[in-house]
């Protein structure tokens, strides 16, 4: 019987024979699904969840295309002349810079910016219970802010109606991606992703290296044309000999202004440990705050601020894209409805105590990236080793594959300020309609009721 049970919950057997799974579960799922497939935010996933992008990534190909075209023209038309006339290091430097630009860009685009998973229904119910301390049956929406002290300074935390939780400090909800992102900077359409805690350093290295690249190409092209026109030819003749250079000049000229400006702005932000979001809203400016307060997150030392932002430890991704969904329970990411309570039939149940022990042991095996309880790996003995073995394998590919670029490139243009301003307005507007809800949303009321059910039945031990 032991072997039979292990076979029953063996992951290979389950994925091969979906019919047995369907008979036992109430979900409509046909096969093992990963969590990214039911992710509630507006993100797109590739490579089986390894690569994450915002839904509207329309300008990312443009960015990539501009960079590729400029670099291609540079290597094809300017480098041969410059190698013969100057030095062979020019294409080498150009190549290294281009590689750095492209890898930084792709890492920025494909990395999870620090998305916070939405609150589980139990959590949301608990928060609502804490707020509604009077215990009345009438439902009123939770207050929008909570004040906490950070480094002896009062900071207001807002309640996110979409994610059903109080946003941690420096977290903001991106309306374009429909996610709360930690240390939210801005949503960059050129990169096709939000810029947040986890990919800010990639974004910063992207714009810095892009500044160097555009300046370098601009300088080389100017040198090229100058050298050509010095050989006894006029400038027009030199340009006619190498028309591609003019294209590069135009692209680089317009890019340099914006890219250099953006680099300077972000260098200022890094040095003072601010985000674009905070800077635009003026959260810590002296006009809004009293004389004593300032940025509570700053270390008041430029070097420390820079090092912390750019060289600090790399936090992990919290959304666990490649984890498997539990077979029976509702996916952790959706809040549509909770599974209906099974009919309590004592004759069908195992002993409660054994069940409890099993559940606990199973729960203790539950961790990120592994199959959660209810999923194939519920047997402690045989699968514990495999459960322990797979997490590293499952955890490393997400970060590994996200680093592999799909060979696409993006343009050299920066994130225009108007995009940031628009995002700010959007985020404000996204919270207002939720606040205008006269009646509670069905999911909220259901979680509220569900949250109360255990309390009704809870009998404290004597």
């Amino acid at each position: 019987m032991k072997n039979c049970e292990y076979q029953q919950i063996d992951p290979r057997a389950l994925s091969v024979s979906p019919s047995s799974v369907q008979n036992h579960t109430e979900k409509k799922v046909q096969r093992l699904r990963r969590k990214w497939e039911v992710f509630p935010g507006k993100n797109r996933f590739f490579c089986d969840g390894r690569i994450i992008l915002a839904r509207q990534s329309g300008i990312l190909p443009v960015t990539l295309g501009l960079i590729v075209v400029t670099c291609g023209l540079f290597f094809a038309f300017d480098c041969p002349f410059l190698v013969t006339h100057l030095t062979v290091f020019i294409p080498v430097i150009g190549g290294v810079l281009s590689l750095f630009v492209v890898t930084s860009l792709l890492r920025t685009s494909f990395t999870d910016p620090g998305i916070l998973p939405r609150a589980t229904p139990d959590e949301a119910a608990d928060i609502e219970k804490q707020i509604d301390n009077s215990g009345s049956s009438t439902y009123r929406p939770p207050p929008r802010t909570k004040e906490i002290l950070i480094n002896q300074q009062v900071v207001k935390l807002k309640y996110c109606f979409t994610c059903k939780m109080f946003r941690p400090p420096r977290t903001s909800h991106c309306s374009l991606c429909d996610n709360c992102v930690e240390r939210f900077d801005h949503h960059c359409p050129w990169v096709g992703n939000c810029v947040g805690k986890r990919n800010y350093r990639f974004f910063y290295s992207f714009i810095i290296s892009l500044s160097f690249l555009t300046s370098f190409i601009f300088g080389c092209v100017v040198t090229h044309i100058t050298l050509r026109s010095q050989d006894g030819k006029s400038l027009i003749q030199a340009i006619q000999e190498s028309p591609a250079s003019v294209v590069e000049l135009v692209i680089c000229f317009f890019s340099i202004w914006s890219i250099l400006g953006l680099s300077g702005f972000h260098t200022y932000l890094v040095a003072s440990n601010l985000t674009t979001n905070e800077d635009i809203k003026g959260s810590w400016s002296s006009k809004r705050c009293t004389e004593e307060s300032g940025n509570p997150y700053s270390y008041n030392n430029i070097m420390t601020n820079c090092c912390v932002t750019l060289c600090g430890p790399m936090p992990p991704s919290l959304i666990d894209r490649r984890g498997f969904l539990p077979l029976v329970a509702a996916s952790p990411a959706t809040e549509t409805e909770l599974p209906p309570f099974p009919v309590k039939n004592d004759t069908n149940m195992c002993t409660k105590s054994t069940k409890d022990v099993l559940e606990r042991l199973v729960r203790s095996l539950d961790s990120r990236g592994r199959c959660p309880p209810g999923a194939p790996k519920t047997t402690p003995v045989a699968v514990e080793i495999s459960a322990a073995a797979t997490p590293p394998a499952e955890r490393s590919p997400p970060t590994g594959c996200s680093r592999q670029h799909a060979g696409r490139h993006t343009a050299a243009a920066p994130c225009p300020p108007f995009a940031r301003g628009r995002e700010r307005r959007d985020s404000f507007q996204s919270s207002n309609p939720a606040f205008r809800l006269a009646s509670p949303s069905p999911s909220l009321s259901r979680t509220f009721i569900l949250g109360e059910a255990p309390d009704v039945g809870f009998i404290p031990p004597p």
Binding site: Q8, H24, M314, K352, R368
Partner: protein, 174 residues
């Protein structure tokens, strides 16, 4: 592996047990799960990961205050170690930047190493301290690092549950 092997006899005796392995998730929502307590984040020192050590009232009858505080303080120390900014983290960051972040393909970040230690610690705490008291601690990483979720299980007075505590102690006593 030994604790798991000792409970195997219970499984072989039970009828329909293989059926209920599948429905373990359903059983979680049935009578045995009584309540859940959420330990929130403590932001008084900034955005670094810390959890409040305030002892929740629902656990007063279930576990000693010192044990709970020890667990939370140890977890806080682990997270502080993961997010510590110092020589080693700078070195890791600069090396990563110099290699265009390709170094992460072969190397595990320090944060990930500490997360593994945390997962092991929580499992060990669950086995030794919390499961015998009918509690279960969920790793905060499964809840987006927002809360430590402690599930409170209740043995209801239904058939066969009288041996609940003895079987629990039997499995943990080994």
């Amino acid at each position: 592996l030994s604790p798991y092997i000792t409970i195997m006899p219970y499984i072989t005796i039970m009828p329909y047990c293989h059926h209920h392995f599948h429905n373990l998730q359903e059983l979680r929502h049935s009578a045995s799960l009584a309540n859940k307590v959420f330990i929130q984040r403590d932001y008084s020192e900034g955005t670094t990961c810390r959890f409040q050590t305030k002892f929740p009232s629902e656990l007063e009858s279930r576990i000693e205050r010192t044990l709970f505080e020890d667990t939370v303080k140890t977890l806080n120390n682990y997270y502080a170690e993961a997010e510590k900014i110092g020589g080693q983290s700078y070195l890791e960051g600069c090396l990563a930047c110099a290699t265009a972040y390709l170094i992460f393909l072969c190397m595990e970040t320090r944060y990930e190493k500490v997360l593994k230690k945390i997962a092991k610690y929580i499992q060990e705490q669950n086995e030794k301290v919390y499961a015998p008291r009918g509690l279960l601690v969920t790793d905060p990483i499964d809840r987006g690092m927002r809360v430590i979720e402690i599930s409170i299980y209740e043995d209801r007075g239904s058939s066969g549950s009288s041996s609940g505590s003895s079987s629990v102690s039997g499995s943990t006593a080994r």
